[in-house]
């Protein structure tokens, strides 16, 4: 039952293991989205006119707004990591709390967008472009929710006084994951909203 301590008890090995593990995991995430990006490339090459006309139906203002929201949230993550490196756990909790809040704002804006599209009769299955749009933003949205969960868990751990300037591996890992979620959106915005 009792597992040996991570990294055989050597904290440096444990940190490096966690880091390598997370980067490996991010590689799998890239491949997960990679299939959808491939589908995007295939269908865009096949139906350039459809992509041009359909993408105009998306709400660019809200898309841009959401991009700003996510970039700001990544800034908050960086500030949070910096805070705990200096040993300031309370400050970390504030910054990560702000990130979670911004994630929620992102999802709300996405909700407004989706319902607007539904109102105009645009669903997954309406055409290939909108199928791709809903699949890609949907899968990304799930990742945002998961990321918020991970960040919330880190905040809970921090409140229990688990992190210090010496040990904060989960803080860095959760932050790295959030940056990845952010980065996916940075690709989705031009591909879906700005292709004209």
């Amino acid at each position: 039952m009792n597992a040996p301590p991570a990294g055989h008890g050597d904290p440096r090995v444990a940190f490096e293991s966690a880091k390598l593990g997370l980067w490996t995991f991010l590689a799998t995430e890239v491949l997960l989205f990679g299939a959808l990006f491939t589908a995007y490339a295939v269908f865009r090459a096949k139906y350039p006119e459809m992509f041009r006309s359909e993408h105009l139906k998306l709400n660019r203002v809200l898309g841009t707004l959401n991009t700003l929201v996510l970039i700001t949230s990544s800034l908050a993550v960086v500030l949070g990591v910096d805070a705990i490196r200096r040993g300031k756990a309370r400050l970390l909790e504030k910054y990560y709390g702000a990130t979670i809040l911004l994630g929620a704002v992102f999802l709300c804006v996405k909700y407004v967008e989706w319902t607007g599209e539904f109102r105009h009769g645009l669903y997954p299955g309406t055409n290939i472009f909108f199928s791709l749009y809903f699949m890609m933003t949907g899968l990304h949205g799930i990742h945002v929710i998961l990321g918020m969960g991970v960040l919330a868990y880190v905040v809970v751990l921090s409140r229990r006084g688990r992190f210090s300037s010496g040990y904060h591996t989960p803080v860095e890992m959760a932050g790295l994951y959030w940056h990845f979620v952010d980065l996916v959106w940075i690709y989705l915005l031009p591909l879906l909203y700005l292709i004209g």
């Binding site: 039952m1 009792n2 390598l20 799998t28 491949l31 491939t38 269908f43 997954p124 290939i128 199928s131």
Partner: protein, 535 residues
């Protein structure tokens, strides 16, 4: 603290009760749980195979409906692939022996390791739930049929998505473990070759599996929301599904074979009492196979309507896989040359691997070449080819590993005489079953039909008889395992006089593997030298 340390020095099997298994973070126990689970599915999948062979006794459908036949070959394929052959060696034997081989106390993330097992269990429970309306698409799930059939495709897809997640977690764990937790002095070129095989395997698992995950997700969405990516009526493309599917499912055949090749590289030198020949060539050929494996998926689709140029490129690249594969085979044979060979059961299976895998491997180029592929596509030649590689290769490697490591895992010796009888039955049964399939395949018998032309009758009867012999052989083997577990003589720490680290622990190993982390000063293949263990 003192008592906990003492507890770690009892054999890892000492603790009793279901909780000690369900919540365990000991890589050895998790490996054992995987072994039991996967072997159970191997036996169930085998029963479906026997039912198929039974139906094929006569040219007309006799015992089951055509639909039942479709369901049986789908379940046979899907179970054997996803629930047995992919997880059996990596998650079962790999979990048990990677930390022992590299001189570590456990994998890098024991908690994730346990999670991967329970995600696997959740996955196969969902797969079983899909049996309310069992799949009839073949294990490949090709659209458009899989998007339209009344079978529970979405459920099964979800189950396999979960199993894929478990596979990713395992691969990730192994990559980090091999990078970060090697004992002092255990340099990359002192690693046992099983570890090189497992490392290459883990890379494939981590990179390829998410693609099949998203593919099955899209297939489920196709059925639930009608997204149309694979539906020509909506502007989609069924061939895109095949690309996605094989982008995973071709590399994954190397997830099946590379760990088995690793086992062979361990067993051959031990029972030849000779250092492995061409260590670096074998080690790096594993990585080469993993890399090339990602470039050849299109050779499953030569008749699917890809462009002739794409066909030619995929065919050309396919031949390259033969190079690192042959490098391994030649090095094993060179290891055997002038060795003091003994034929214990692990060695018998290892030699069988080389022989059968050579047949499977050499029939590959017939299918990789465009002209012959068009002739042989979807005939029994294909069935024979991949059973020679997957069963003749991977499963024989798995059996070699089970017999080799049985004393270490259980602390009991197997009855060697019974093991050899089982081996003989398996060897004969396998060849009688599958070699005839090459012949009917070349003569044009298509796969996946419950009925066939009367001119193929004799061969099919021979094949079914072979499958019965094979089944008896496996039954004897399983019986031998059960008897060994219950009544086997106590195993010494190192019954095969092997040099790798796992044999330097007691049988079964203690919970903490090594009381002191060993310091490694040499590679594990110094057989036949004066400084080796007592000869």
């Amino acid at each position: 603290m003192e008592r906990a340390a003492e507890g770690n020095r009892r054999g890892y099997l000492a603790e009793r009760g279901w909780r000690s298994w369900a919540y365990t973070m000991d890589h050895k126990r998790i490996g054992v749980m995987y072994l039991y689970t996967t072997i159970a599915f191997f036996l169930v999948g085998g029963v479906f195979a026997l039912l198929l062979r039974l139906e094929l006794l006569s040219p007309q459908a006799k015992y089951f409906s055509d639909h039942a036949y479709n369901v049986f070959f789908t379940l046979h394929g899907a179970m054997m692939i996803f629930l047995f052959i992919i997880p059996a060696i990596p998650s079962g034997l790999g979990n048990f022996f990677i930390p022992l081989h590299i001189g570590a106390r456990d994998v890098a993330f024991p908690r994730i390791n346990l999670a991967s097992y329970w995600v696997f269990v959740a996955g196969f429970l969902v797969v079983i739930a899909s049996l309310v309306s069992p799949m009839d698409t073949g294990w490949t799930f090709y659209t458009p049929y899989s998007a339209k059939t009344g079978a529970a495709v979405a459920t099964l897809s979800f189950g396999i998505f979960l199993i894929g997640m478990s596979s990713i977690l395992t691969g990730l764990n192994f990559i980090v473990t091999i990078h970060k937790l090697r004992a002092p002095g255990m340099t990359w070129h002192r690693l046992p070759l099983f570890i090189w095989g497992m490392y290459a395997t883990s890379i494939i698992q981590v990179i390829a599996t998410p693609v099949v995950g998203v593919t099955f997700l899209l297939l489920a969405m196709e059925r639930l929301l009608g997204v149309g990516f694979f539906d020509p009526a909506k502007g989609g493309d069924p061939v895109l599904f095949q690309h996605f599917f094989w982008f995973y499912s071709h590399p994954v055949v190397y997830v099946m074979i590379l760990p088995a090749m690793g086992i062979i590289s361990e067993v051959i030198p031990v029972f030849s009492r000779k250092p492995i020949f061409g260590y670096k060539a074998i080690a790096y050929s594993s990585l080469a196979i993993a890399f090339l494996g990602f470039l050849v998926w299109g050779h499953h689709m030569f008749t699917s309507g890809m462009s002739p140029l794409a066909n030619a490129i995929f065919s050309f690249l396919t031949f390259f896989v033969a190079v690192p594969t042959a490098v391994k085979v030649f090095n094993w044979i060179a290891t055997l040359y002038k060795g003091s060979i003994t034929f214990e059961s692990p060695m018998l299976y290892a030699l069988t691997f080389i022989f059968l895998f050579a047949v499977g491997g050499l029939t590959g180029p017939f299918l990789g070449a465009l002209a012959t592929n068009v002739q042989l596509h979807d005939t029994y030649f294909v069935v024979a080819h991949f059973h020679y590689t997957m069963m003749g290769g991977t499963v024989m490697g798995f059996f070699a590993g089970l017999h080799y490591w049985f004393p270490k895992m259980t602390g009991k010796m197997l009855n060697e005489k019974v093991a050899r009888i089982a081996w003989a039955l398996v060897f004969v049964g396998f060849n009688v079953t599958f070699f005839t399939m090459f012949i009917v395949g070349v003569r044009g018998m298509p796969r996946r039909y419950a009925e066939y032309l009367p001119k193929f009758h004799v061969e099919n009867v021979i094949s079914t008889v072979g499958s019965a012999i094979l089944a008896v052989g496996i039954a004897v083997m399983v019986l031998n395992f059960i008897l060994g577990l219950r009544k086997g003589a106590p195993a010494p720490g190192n019954p095969w006089r092997a040099l790798s680290l796992e044999w330097q622990t007691p049988s079964p190993p203690d919970t903490d593997n090594f009381h002191e982390i060993p310091v490694v000063t040499d590679w594990p293949y110094g057989y036949g030298k004066a400084e080796g263990p007592a000869e």
